[in-house]
């Protein structure tokens, strides 16, 4: 069956929508392969607007890896804004890929990357526009396999009804393994239809197929049991871990859009995983162990990526970038290589204790010293012990003092509100810390133009973390504490004007909490919200707490559970959690012990430089910590100028 581009039908609608260029495709380094020659065809989706989705590393990496393979084709699709959605419905235009504008329903697999749970309603919009039945149970052999990945896929239960499958962990190798299963099954003439294909994927133990697991509940609403309902389907589904990042140096040729996007830089992941052990941090727990990319591969990727893209900013990404064992050498050598080329380097996610001024100077060589960002996360020493963010206030003051002495004028500090065991004074301590920061800056420089911006996010307990059992703080309490903090800063005549405060109200965090720790019954809520018009929940102008709360009440009316039950309720050790059959490698007993340590304000060291504390990941997953130093250095580039 020939699959034609829908672009001729889309084009006349584009003058009528905002930012039409986002729907046009044609990005530098994008590719369009021959449809007929491909044996396996993937549509990769990031369920948010193009400007957010295009820079996503996960999608770019998989897009390139899949398209490199002969016989495999991958195209991308993003959420369309409501203005285009309405026109597409009016004119009968299906969800399309931006590469060749092919209808998403024509692909073999629709892979959706969920960085956050707030993209769930956008998944439903895309499925509906694509003409794919929303519920997996209603799909036939002619429909794509709808597959979720990304961090939110570590608990895909709230969207289990809408998914055919989910994968946990690093995608590089598993997308190729899935491709092979699909290829073989198609080559055999698709025996047994959709069910057989899903069974083959599930039997591997590396792909979670929700329909092959039954969930039963206790009368009080808790889960009684989750168990496979088919022979050959393992009880546990394991996450995937790429052990040698040097073997997977992607993206090699980053996609460069014409439209403006949230990040306009070439990003290189310098390591994956983190063992700092911050208890709130799901990313740090589910991406263990630490695996570094070598300085030589980083250098080669930066060189190739910049040449292929024309970008002039490089971001060295990881969960705590200054922790790379050779970060000093990486920074100095890259700064040397690109000196005078107007290429800027940035190091997002730097810990206060790993920061050093030599490093900061390398990154800002010849450039601007606009601002430094640190994340103490908790305002009081006690709070930081609970969350295992082992940064002392004196460390922070020492660090910012050095930064101010070296020419920086502005420091940004990130905190969370609503953490387990938090009291009002823990939040008010944020004000004390910000005052000390300003005071230190004024003393160090003798100037009055020192600024400090405090950004506060609401804490959401996440699956596979020690806080997975915790009661989420209700939004009234969060809002009250934030108001008190704001009032304290406003009343401060000496420092108040030098401190900026940014925060959101606590309601969105409650919905994020529902979606993070929800089970399959939450699917009804998501569907009700979507049917009521819920879209783009990550955008404050589209998000409606009232809609979510109202739909939760209606959809869960016949159940012994409600919004509060999923969010502000503390769980006991024995309770079966919705994601217990999904294995991130973490030992459940260790997580519980770490939760108890949190309550006792006991800290745990980083296993990279202290003995193993048995979180369980390495033995379970057959992995190990991979860190340098390699002792290698980057040589200067011989730049060949054209013309």
């Amino acid at each position: 069956m020939p699959v034609e581009s829908i672009f001729p039908r889309l084009e006349p609608l584009l003058p009528r929508v905002q930012k039409p260029i986002q729907y046009v495709g044609g990005e530098l380094n994008s590719q369009t392969k021959d449809w007929a020659e491909a044996e396996v065809r993937w549509a990769l989706m990031y369920p948010d607007a193009y400007e957010v989705g295009l820079p996503n590393q996960g999608v770019q990496i998989l897009y390139e890896i899949l398209n490199e393979r002969p016989g495999v084709l991958a195209e991308r699709t993003y959420s369309v804004w409501p203005d285009l959605e309405a026109l597409m419905r009016e004119h009968g235009i299906p969800q399309f890929t931006v590469d060749a504008h092919r209808p998403v329903a024509a692909f073999d697999v629709l892979g959706v990357s969920f960085s956050t749970e707030l993209g769930y309603t956008n998944l439903l919009t895309a499925l509906d526009l694509a003409g794919i039945p929303l519920e997996a149970a209603d799909r036939g052999d002619e429909h794509p396999i709808v597959l979720a990945g990304g961090h939110a896929a570590f608990n895909p239960e709230p969207i289990a009804d809408f998914l055919d499958a989910a994968v946990l962990g690093d995608g590089e190798q598993i997308v190729l393994a899935i491709t092979e299963v699909v290829r073989e099954w198609k080559a055999e003439g698709s025996p047994g239809g959709r069910d057989e294909l899903l069974l083959r994927l599930a039997a591997s133990g590396g792909v979670y197929v929700p329909r092959f697991f039954d969930v039963s509940y206790l009368p009080d609403g808790r889960i009684q049991r989750v168990a496979p309902n088919r022979p050959g389907v393992p009880f546990q589904v394991a996450k995937h871990t790429v052990m040698d990042l040097d073997e997977w140096p992607y993206p090699k040729r980053p996609l460069v859009p014409l439209a403006e996007t949230v990040h306009e830089r070439y990003s290189v992941e310098i390591f994956r995983g983190c063992t700092r052990g911050c208890r709130f941090c799901q990313a740090g727990m589910i991406t263990r162990p630490v695996r570094e990319r070598s300085i030589t591969t980083i250098g080669a990727m930066v060189e190739q990526g910049l040449a292929a893209s024309g970008l002039n900013e490089v971001g060295l990404l990881s969960l705590s970038s200054a922790d790379h064992s050779e970060i000093g050498e990486v920074a100095k050598d890259l700064a040397d290589r690109y000196e005078g080329t107007r290429t800027s380097l940035s190091l997002p996610s730097t810990r206060v204790d790993a920061f050093n001024i030599t490093l900061a100077n390398e990154f800002s060589r010849g450039g601007r010293r606009s601002g430094l960002t640190f994340a103490p996360e908790g305002g009081s020493e006690r709070m930081r012990k609970v969350i295992n963010k082992m940064v002392s206030e004196d460390d922070l003051i020492r660090t910012v003092t050095t930064a101010y002495e070296n020419g920086w004028r502005q420091v940004k500090l990130y905190f969370m509100c609503g953490l387990p065991t938090e009291a009002d004074e823990d939040v008010l301590a944020i004000a004390d810390m910000a005052r000390r920061v300003i005071q230190a800056g004024r003393e160090a420089t003798g100037r009055r133009d020192i600024r400090c911006t405090v950004s506060i996010g609401g804490f959401v307990p996440k699956p596979h973390t020690p806080f997975q059992w915790a009661a989420q703080c209700d939004h009234e309490t969060v809002d009250r504490r934030l108001r008190a903090l704001k009032d304290t800063l406003r009343r401060d005549r000496e420092y108040g004007k030098a401190i900026g405060l940014r925060y959101h109200d606590g309601k969105p965090s409650i919905i994020e909490g529902l979606l993070s720790r929800g089970d399959r019954r939450v699917g009804k809520v998501i569907r009700a919200v979507w049917e009521d018009g819920g879209r783009f929940d990550g955008w404050s102008e589209h998000f409606s707490y009232e809609r979510w709360a109202g739909c939760a009440e209606k959809a869960l009316a016949g159940e012994p559970v409600d919004l509060d039950w999923y969010t502000v309720r503390e769980r006991a050790e024995v309770e079966v959690l919705p994601w217990d059959h999904l294995d991130a490698g973490l030992d459940r007993e260790w997580l519980w012990q770490d939760w108890q340590d949190a309550i006792d304000e006991t800290e745990v060291e980083d296993c990279r430089w202290t003995p193993c504390y048995d979180c369980g990941v390495c033995p379970t997953m057959g992995t190990e910590i991979q860190i340098g130093p390699t002792g290698k250095r980057l040589l200067p580039l011989s730049v060949v100028q054209s013309g």
């Binding site: 672009f7 014409l258 010849g366 601007r368 100028q641």
Partner: protein, 287 residues
Amino acid sequence: MPEGPAPAPVIQRLRVHYAKRGRLRFTSHRDISRAVERAVRRAGIPVAYSAGFTPHPKISYAGAAATGVASEAEYLEIGLTGTRDPAQVRADLDAALPAGLDILDVVQVPEARGGAEQHRPEPITERLQASEWRIRLDGVTVDAAASAVAAFMAAPEIEVERLTKKGRRRFDVRAAVFACGLDRRATEATDVPCAILRMVVRHTTPVVRPDDVLTGLRQVADLAPPSPPLVTRLAQGPLDADTGELADPLDPDRDAVPPGVAALAGVSPALTRSADTAGEDVVSTRP
């Protein structure tokens, strides 16, 4: 705060004629400037930077066509810290840009080196006195379009209202329209029912855009196309008030380049509009 050395001076200035075609007409001006900056880096063209806290590449744009409007005649000027063959820059830059943003011509700006200010060539914006537009109106009959154009051209003044950055503004669109007519041959050549207009519009303040003219057509003759018009800028340049022709705005630079450099730059083809204008049957009325 690191002050750093002064940026390298501009040694050569190039004027670039480019087109914005097909689906790339949906790029905004900001999209284009980012794409050009990246293409310049990828092509290894030694662009000069401004001094200051946030140095910017010295690339300036003249009167860019709006988002959604295609153009065969856009212009930018770029300052280089070294000397490059304009023909080579044309090829390299074109190769580094996505298909649809196409470089048509590059000429060197003759520099009055160390000379008096009055010998410097005028800014290109001074030469861009008028634009020629082609507007395809789908679902509009030729007769309806022809009578609307006739009514429009017969009117002494047509006030329209548009939301500008300074709020609602009323202005006359008629005076800026030098010529406007129906392109019957182009209309007949398409297989969709439509009417294709051609018009020459002077660049005035406030600028009269094709959609302002369409607003005017609706006001004088109730011409209301059922779908958004397909607008293409065909040319920009100095207007010959006798012939109604627009000259190539890069001609004066090409003519002024001394013989030695001309050999280098000679590869650049002059702007030709013959393909576009051949067999044109424009019903043209002048004010």
